[in-house]
Structure formats: C-alpha cells, structure tokens
C-alpha cells in the first residue's frame, strides 16, 4: 500500500482544510465552507471505516501505523468532529462565529489528531500533538471580546506550552537513552536506566496534561467553560480521543517489556485521583457546562483504569469507551448548546433548566438519554464502555481500582440525575419560547441518541470484532 493511501483520511482533511482557508481568503460564504467541511470529514470518515477492515502495517518509514488501533482511533476522532461540526452552525451563528476560518482551524486540528492517533514514532507523536494543540489554543480563544474566552485561551496556551516543554524533554531523554525515536525500536533496546525512566515519566506528564488527568487538570474546567459550547464538545471528545489512542500506542508499543509494573502503578494512582477529584468537584457545580467539564475529567479517569490494566483487553476497552464517550458527550454538549443559543434567557445555571423537559420534550428526552449514558446505566453505550474497562482491570488483578471506579461512577449519578430532576420535576414560573432547532441539528442529535441506544443494546458484535482487529495489530 502506498504511504499516502495509508494516511488517506489525514490527507483528505489537510487538503480540505487548506481549500477552506483559501475559500475564506476569496470571501466565499461561511455556509459554503461549512458544507465543504462536512463533506471532507464525511469522505475521510468513509475512508477510515473502510481501512478498519483492511490490513494493518506501518508507513512513511515507520513513522505512522495504519489499520487496527489507528483506524479505530481515526473513526472515533472523525465521528466526534463530524457531529460537533454539524451541530455548530446554529450555535456559532448566534454568537457571530459562523465564519470560514473557524472551520478551517477545526479541520487543521483534526489533521494533527489523526497524525497523533497513528503515531509510531516520537517525532510524529510530537508533531501531531502540537498541530492539534496550537489549533485548539486558537479555538479556545475564539470569543475574544469576552473576558472568559481570552482567559481560557491564555490559560490553555501557557499551561499547554509549559507541558510541551516537559514532553519534549521526555522525548529527548528517551532518545538519549536509546538512540531511537521509533516506538518499537525503543522497546527493543530499552533498559530501565535512570535516563530512560526519567524520560518516560516526563513524557507521561505531558500526556496526562493533555488528557486533563488530576493533578494536571487545572486548565480543563476554565477552558471548557470559555470555549463556544459545540467546540468544547470537539475539544473534549476528538482531542481527548486522539491523545488516548496515542497513549495506548505508546503503552503497548514502547513500554511493554520495560518495567510495565512501575507505569501501571503510576497510572493507577493518577486514575484514582482523577476519578475521585473529578467526580467530587462536579458534585458542587451549578453551572451545567462546568459540571460537564468536571465530568469529562472523571471520564478520563475511567479511561485510565483500562490503561492501568495494561492488557490488550484493557486497551480494547479504552478504545470502545472512547467511542461511547464521544457519542454521548457530543450529544450532551449539543443539547446544552441548543438551550444556550437563547442568549436572552441565560441558560447557564442549573436552576434555569427548571421545567424545560416538559415544555420542550424532544431535547429534554435526548439530554436525558445522554446523561443516563454518561452515568453508565445499562441500556446505553456508556454502561458497555465502563463494563469493558472495569472488567479488564479486574482480570488484570486491579480489584481495588475497579471498586473505586464503580463507586466513583455511582457518585456521579447524583450530578447527572440532578439535571434531569430540574428538567422534569421542577416547575418554572417564567413563560418563554426557545428558538427552533434546525432539521440538520435535530437529526444529528437524534442520530447520536440512536447510536447511544443501539450500541448499548447490541454491544457484543462490534466489541469482538474490535478484539480481532487489535490482536491482528499486535501480531505486526
């Protein structure tokens, strides 16, 4: 297979992103660029789904991998991007950000994510991560005339650049200890020397920062709150998925033989901290968007449980959970964006949600589906994802970790269900009407809800297929 074909989704998105930039320069309308963006993401998604069932291998002299884990990661990233872009139009028009450059920035950050999620070399890992992050700094600062937006961007940028320093130092030390940057070549010659362990630790610090794990999570709530809501969904799902897929690749390819125990212990501690702190602070939030930001920290904790297991089963669980998390989280953020569009009514605090469920039943029911799924209640996909992750941890002998995870997710039920209590069981005394949702928006949200339900009821088939994909990938 030709190298370009192996990275075709990324190539398509890159070309479309550059065309979108040019169209913006030639003053084409934002709707044209919006349509082009959706078409490009759909094309790349089709190619990525086809590649999922193709063969796997490495391309560009071992810089990237394709097929297996990488293709699944690309599918999740593109799915998250597709849904968040589709639901963005109505919301961005409301805040005067329905502009071509916003969409080209989204596309260019997807290129970085796709490179990151297929990185087989520390150089491509670094480049993918930075391409993604630099575009995300811009996206975080889109609302630049409000203080929250500029603050979010500054905070994200300064902390992100700081973390990049650690990450790059980690890469330099690993390179110094082994003389290689390719993940498999590093694994072949790695000795647990001080330099190699120090380098890996710094690399992990950089990754923990990007996924927003406690104690490196301080930027997450502020950035998620300051970013336009539908683009928060994009950052919270696509960017996080890309980083987690890269984390899986590094754990499975670079660190498998060399003292995995140490890293398993480190990830366990971080996972416990992330789940407990994320959920506890989310309990105290009255701002719904900030609550979802803390809940996404908690979800990073559940994902880390699967990584702590360190087995192919655990990695597969992580990948499936990423899919589940992407679908339900973009859904929840979309409905919140639908409420927030009505600027005069100010739907930010949970009190303002009182009575919305019965007044506007469709969106209320959809939001409830996503929230139930985020809790991890059985007929929804969130339960299946959590089940695979925790089962992998138990099979790997990490029973205390799994117990803490289950308790933490039980505690999370409080703040998710609280939103539903306000939606359906509280009365509001105000009379108002919401702006109608466009057909495209409604159908995208309904489709996400359908996926949440379908993969909750019919989970076995895609998962066994996924295990096969991953095991074929391991025999590379």
């Amino acid at each position: 297979m030709h190298d370009i074909i192996a990275f075709l989704p990324g190539v398509i998105i890159a070309v479309v992103g550059l065309i979108a930039l040019l169209m913006e320069a030639y003053k084409k309308s934002a709707d044209q660029i919006y349509g082009l963006t959706i078409a490009g993401i759909l094309a790349a998604l089709g190619v990525a789904i086809a590649a999922l069932f193709g063969d796997s291998g490495t391309a560009f002299t071992g810089m990237i991998v394709y097929g297996g884990v990488a293709s699944f990661g690309a599918v999740v990233i593109l799915l998250g991007s597709l849904f968040s872009v589709v639901v963005s139009r109505d919301y961005l028009m409301e805040i005067d950000l329905h502009r071509g450059d916003v969409y080209s920035m989204i596309l260019l950050s997807i290129v970085g994510m796709l490179a990151l999620a297929s990185a087989n070399d520390l150089i491509s890992f670094f480049l993918g991560l930075e391409t993604m992050s630099i575009c995300l700094y811009v996206i975080a600062g889109l609302i630049k005339d409000k203080k929250t937006g500029a603050e979010a961007a500054l905070k994200y940028f300064l902390l992100g650049a700081f973390a990049t320093g650690f990450l790059l130092y980690g890469i330099a030390l690993i390179y110094g200890a082994t003389g290689h940057t390719n993940l498999t070549e590093i694994a072949a010659v790695a000795e647990p020397t001080l330099m190699f362990m120090g380098g890996s630790a710094l690399l992990l610090v950089g990754i923990f920062f990007k996924i927003g794990a406690v104690p490196f999570h301080m930027w997450t709530p502020d950035v998620y709150q300051g970013t336009p809501t539908t683009l928060t969904a994009f950052m919270a799902t696509a960017a996080k998925s890309a980083t987690f897929v890269a984390f899986v690749l590094i754990m499975s390819r670079m660190l498998p033989e060399s003292d995995t125990d140490i890293w398993t212990n480190v990830i366990q501690v971080v996972a416990i901290l992330t789940m407990v702190v994320g959920n506890l602070i989310a309990l105290a939030q009255d701002n719904v968007k900030r609550m979802l930001a803390y809940s996404s920290i908690a979800h990073a904790g559940y994902l880390l449980v699967g990584l702590a297991a360190g087995t192919p089963e655990g990695f597969t669980g992580v990948l499936y959970y990423l899919f589940a998390y992407t679908v339900m989280n973009v859904g929840a953020f979309s409905v919140i964006a639908y409420y927030e569009r009505n600027k005069g009514l100010d739907f930010t605090e949970i009190e303002s949600y009182a009575g919305l469920g019965f007044k506007f039943p469709l969106m209320g029911v959809l939001l409830s589906i996503f929230l139930f799924s985020l809790v991890g209640i059985p007929p929804f996909v969130g339960f299946v994802g959590k089940y695979y992750v925790f089962a992998a941890a138990i099979n790997a002998g990490l029973i205390p970790l799994a117990i803490i995870g289950v308790l933490a997710s039980a505690a999370s039920a409080y703040y998710y269900l609280r939103v539903m209590v306000y939606l359906f069981f509280k009365d509001s005394h105000k009379e108002y009407s919401l702006k109608p949702a466009s057909l495209l928006f409604s159908s995208a949200v309904v489709l996400m809800a359908a996926l949440t339900l379908y993969y909750g009821i019919e989970p076995v088939l895609p998962f066994s297929g996924l295990i096969e994909l991953i095991s074929s990938y391991y025999s590379l």
């Binding site: 990049t164 790059l168 330099a172």
Partner: protein
Amino acid sequence: MIGIDWYLALSAILFTIGIIGVLIRRNAIVIFMCVELMLNAVNLSLISFSAYHGDIAGQILVFFSLSVAAAEAVVGLAIIIAIFRNNLSVDITKVNLLRW
C-alpha cells in the same frame, strides 16, 4: 574535547531556570519567554544526544521543535494581545487566572 555531560548539564540547568521562571513570574510575556527557554534547553540536549549517538534523527527533531515553537509564538502572542485589550495588563494575577 568537551564531553556530552557538560552539554547535558547546561541543558538541565537552562530547563530548570525556565521552569522556575514560569512558576514565579507574573508577566504573561515573561512566562512565555521562560517556556521558550525550556524548549531551547531541550533542543540543546537533542543536538548533543544526536552527536553522541551519531544519529541524525535528533537534529531533525530540533528543526521540527523550532518550527513548532515559532507557530506557538504566533498564536501565543496573539492571545496575549487579546488579553491586553480586555484588561490593559498582561499581569496574569490581574486576569484572575488560577495558579497551577
């Protein structure tokens, strides 16, 4: 002939100065300069490792990291200008940022 140890020590010292600067300074631009110092300290490490191993990959990575740092500077300075327009100050304690 200066051994690799000296280069690595210098790089580690510069990196530490960068970290300390990020943690104690309050001006966003100075913090950003300290981040750049960290990145350049790493570049020094990479080049000396590259020479030590007789392998070109480290030097290639330096070129990439330089271009990444340049792109970061573009975005970062734009963000700092946006903050300045909102607050008429680039003192990060005055924009109510939580400290890490």
